[in-house]
């Protein structure tokens, strides 16, 4: 008798393949969605102009270029619409069909969303090339060990984001329109993840408050790995904190789901 985990692992390649087929089927929508995350470009224009006459609080123009282009790449690879999907499925009762399958929706949806990541590189890769060719290249980290850690850090950022958004979507078990909470989330995310501007440029109390939330682990950590020179201890601490947030957010997501699914009303015929 195979265990549930080994069955789930065996199912993953097919789930990825079907997820890729779905992404291809929705390619136009997908591209438009990817192109909507352009806020960092606006911020880039604003801050390079501010820093054109000299560094602003230690950030030179090239630092801003590196920061915002790296932000754009990480955001492209880690963003997710899973909260909308979960909330809609709960609200309309479509979740019923998913619940009849012997695979936790967190895993099933996770696999299907991960399948979209290779397509995201179509947008992320050109941005990364622009970054390398731009003045920002000089502000990138040159430590190969640190750069090697970027990949797992982006993976953890994806997981923290996915688990948090899965939790927000699952709130539809308790309140009819959990998307109102998603809007609040996007506000806090923009402010506390470093998406709008680097956390060191925020008032100190905001930067301190941000450290107590999972938001920096969603974006700032991999961006810092790309753009700052970190000591080995700092690198280990940042990755450790990010791993901690990944474990905590997954735990919260699974708990909220377990409590919520008891309230599922499976509306409609």
């Amino acid at each position: 008798m195979r265990s549930g985990t080994s069955r789930a692992l065996r199912a993953l390649p097919t789930l990825f393949r079907v997820g890729v087929a779905e992404t291809v089927a929705y390619r136009a929508e997908f591209l438009v969605w990817l192109l909507t995350s352009t806020l960092p470009l606006v911020m880039l224009g604003l801050w390079t102009s501010v820093a054109s006459e000299g560094p602003f609080q230690g950030y030179a123009s090239a630092d801003f270029v590196a920061y915002y282009l790296a932000t754009l790449v990480v955001r492209n690879l880690t963003g997710s619409w899973v909260s909308w999907q979960v909330s809609e499925e709960i609200r309309t009762g479509a979740l019923a069909m998913r619940l009849l399958r012997p695979l936790h929706p967190f895993v099933a949806l996770g696999a299907s969303h991960l399948a979209a990541v290779p397509f995201r590189t179509f947008v992320a890769l050109p941005i990364a090339l622009v970054l390398l060719a731009s003045s920002g290249a000089s502000a990138l980290s040159g430590d190969p060990a640190q750069l090697l850690c970027v990949l797992p850090s982006v993976g953890l950022a994806w997981l923290v984001t996915f688990a948090t958004l899965f939790t927000i979507g699952s709130l539809a078990f308790f309140i009819t329109k959990s998307m109102a909470i998603a809007n609040l989330y996007y506000g806090l995310f923009s402010l506390l993840s470093g998406y709008l501007l680097p956390l060191p440029l925020m008032p100190p109390w905001v930067a301190t408050a941000a450290e107590l939330t999972p938001f920096p682990a969603m974006l700032t950590t991999p961006v810092e790995l790309l753009t700052r020179s970190l000591s080995g201890a700092d690198l280990a601490r940042l990755l450790g904190v990010q791993f901690g947030w990944a474990a905590a957010t997954v735990l919260v997501a699974l708990t909220v789901w377990r409590l919520g699914v008891r309230r599922f009303e499976a509306v409609g015929g």
Binding site: V18, E22, A96, P102
Partner: protein, 338 residues
Amino acid sequence: MIRADELTKHFKVHRRKPGFAAALASVFRRRHELVKAVENVSFRIERGERVGFLGPNGAGKTTTLKLLAGLLHPTSGAVTVDGYVPSKRRPELLRSITLVMGQKSQLIWDLPPSETYAMNRAIFDVPKAEFDATLAELTELLELGKLVDKPTRQLSLGERMKCELAAALLHRPKTLFLDEPTIGLDVAMQLAIRDFVRRYNQRHEATVLLTSHYMDDVVALCPRILVIDEGKLVHDGDLRQLVKTMDPDKRVSFTLTSEVGADELERLGAVIGREGTRVTLRVVEREIPAVVGRLLGPLHVADLAIEDPPLEEILRAMFGKAREQRAASEAAEAGGAT
């Protein structure tokens, strides 16, 4: 085996009157109402049985099916399917049941059904050889042909329903919960699906629980029926027994070939339908031989048919009577209270 003991499901429903003022008021104060969708329902269903759920809209049929499939947690009472509590959604149970809902789709909308089948094979961990054999069998029984390679959104309702059934059965479930599987389908497709369900039941000794608005589905497929009204189980048993208990009289229909007076017909039985020369009488069962003898003898009628009363008629009378009794007892209670 399926066991339901005192199964109860209540929903809290938000109610508000139409209009802007009511909408505004509901922001500050919400009125909720308790809907008793299923109330103390108990039954046993043995392996391989085909059981139909009957009842008017909102009676609690679908809620009961969802409780049995583990989509809903009961408010009280207990339910087990093959020894498992469905709401715990143990993978072992999920691999042995299926739920088909005529109004909900599990097929991925923009991809061909074959992609959903591949995904289900992976999730249900069906070995490749078994999957191929089952798919071949389902393709033959449901005449799927090349449908499985067309994007789902381009399939007609009937085609989609056939593909839904295949998706739901690829893991060869032992228990089938079918909620309105023929809704919106034409007569030919209804017959095809009915025929398929019967054959699947016989071939795999699968238990089938069915709800349908089409009484013919239930009559043709289910020797046993559970009648649910306002969340309560009001009949559990043989279909013929229900008909006999509720209305033991037969329906005798025939075509007149010569003029027969109304008095003469009334002497044979109650005239309950007359369209031109076609007449339908309600006749007490023990008088059937005498009435048939007279109709075929002196009266020379043609196209004579003897049938049980239509199930729809019986259920309408049954639900109507139950409602009248409830209204009367509520009125009596209200009268006693004042």
